[in-house]
């Protein structure tokens, strides 16, 4: 018997879709929510293995995402290849400091910080840490909230490709970096969705009481 009353400790399952708490069936049977029919798990299945897989794939793709051009601009004066960082530099040198900072934050800082945070979260659960559990839970909440903003540059490229066409003296094409960057965003979102923050709390401190 656990010192702290958790759903799993009491033999109950909570539905992640409709939040209904129901009694877990006999071991072996597949559990479904009596109200909404969702498949119930005490913890997300293979949470750590899946988080690490998505995370490592994202880290590998982060390299081409930043080194390959996300767009090519061809005009009468030649072709210019832009990576994410050179796009930020262009905004900065043309005087749009706020936007440069915004794009740098969304496209460079957020994906990097998100991957580091997920590695810290998964790693700390792996070594069964009981420290700073509340802070780590907050970190996870932040990762879930902020990750989507990395899509910013993908949308910028979309609009530029659509508008700057043959008849406007220059043409903009999407580069291979854009696909790699999009994949990084998608993979980190999958990694965050695979991680189960309840694992952080499953390690009980000595003598913990409700």
């Amino acid at each position: 018997m656990n010192a702290v009353p958790t759903a799993a400790g009491m033999g109950l399952l909570s539905c992640e879709v409709c939040r209904l708490v129901s009694r877990a069936p006999a071991p072996g049977g597949d559990a479904h929510c009596p109200r909404c029919g969702a498949t119930l798990h005490a913890r997300k299945p293979a949470s750590l293995a899946r988080t690490w897989s998505f995370l490592i794939a994202a880290m590998l793709l982060y390299v081409p995402a930043n080194t390959l051009p996300i767009m090519d601009t061809s005009s009468l004066f030649g072709t210019q290849r832009d990576t994410i960082v050179s796009g930020v530099a262009f905004l900065w040198t043309s005087g749009s400091f706020v936007l440069a900072a915004l794009v740098f934050f969304a496209s460079v800082m957020v994906p990097l910080a998100k991957m580091i945070a997920l590695a810290v979260l998964a790693g700390s659960v792996q070594v069964r840490s009981v420290r700073n559990r509340r802070t780590r839970t907050r970190l996870f909440r932040l990762v879930e909230f902020i990750g989507r903003w990395s899509m910013l540059d993908i949308y910028v490229v979309t609009i530029l490709v659509a508008l700057v066409q043959v008849n406007t003296l220059a043409t903009i094409h999407a580069g291979p970096g854009a696909a790699a960057f999009g994949a990084v965003v998608v993979l980190t979102m999958f990694a965050a969705a695979s991680f189960d923050p309840r694992l952080i709390w499953d390690m009980q401190e000595e003598g913990e009481r409700p």
Binding site: T6, C18, L163, N167
Partner: protein, 205 residues
């Protein structure tokens, strides 16, 4: 006598069990161990409001997709693009994976979420179960992170600043519609009370 499991709510972030207790109007219950939100006391007409906001968002969605987002004028040559047109240019530009990603996050998922939510809320308002309401609500919950209208709006603004250096920019009707759509989607999902919807669905079973 034992309390039925449904009288409890478990924290999704740390699994701590809490007994559901009535809240004062406008109040919300947070997990006492990790601080995550557990449930809130929504006003009785919360889902009526959510329905009105979702219907408005549906109209804005149609306008936002029917008109050009922005026009470009380079020495008398004009170009403009709708969102779907922009997705098509990416596709034709061999950036197919990116085109699919943009289509899914700015058109497909927001549309599915809005239509699904409106459908379920309309059915509940009539006091009916509504065809497919349970899988629809389920679906809405699971695709939510993939609707990125607000990020798209910011992306459009950034690209406009970049283009302002080479051409004259003419913001289109759809740009403002997307701005409004972003606000109404946020308002509709903030007003929506899933607890009430689920118990109502359970009652009409």
């Amino acid at each position: 006598m034992e309390t039925p499991p449904a009288a409890f709510v478990a924290c999704l972030e740390c699994d701590l069990l809490h007994r559901r207790t009535p809240l004062p109007p406008g109040g919300e219950a947070r997990c006492k161990r990790c601080g995550a939100r557990l449930y809130r006391a929504a006003p009785a007409d919360a889902n009526e409001r959510a329905l009105a906001l979702a219907l408005t968002a549906c109209i804005l969605f149609i306008v936002a997709n029917a008109y050009p987002i922005v026009g470009l004028d380079v020495q008398g040559v004009r170009n403009s693009a709708t969102l779907f047109g922009a997705v098509e240019s990416l596709w034709d530009d061999e950036a197919r994976a990116v085109a699919v990603l943009v289509f899914v996050t700015t058109i497909l998922v927001p549309a599915a979420e809005l239509i699904g939510l409106t459908w379920v809320l309309l059915a509940l308002r009539q006091g009916e179960r509504g065809y497919g309401a349970v899988p629809l609500l389920h679906f809405i919950e699971s695709v939510k992170p993939w609707a990125m209208v607000e990020v798209f709006v910011l992306g459009v603004l950034v690209s406009l600043v970049k283009l302002a250096h080479i051409a004259i920019i003419e913001p289109g009707v759809a740009l403002f519609s997307f701005g409004g759509l972003m606000l109404f989607i946020a308002a509709a999902s903030a007003a929506f009370d899933p607890d009430a919807a689920w118990s109502q669905l359970e009652a009409t079973q």
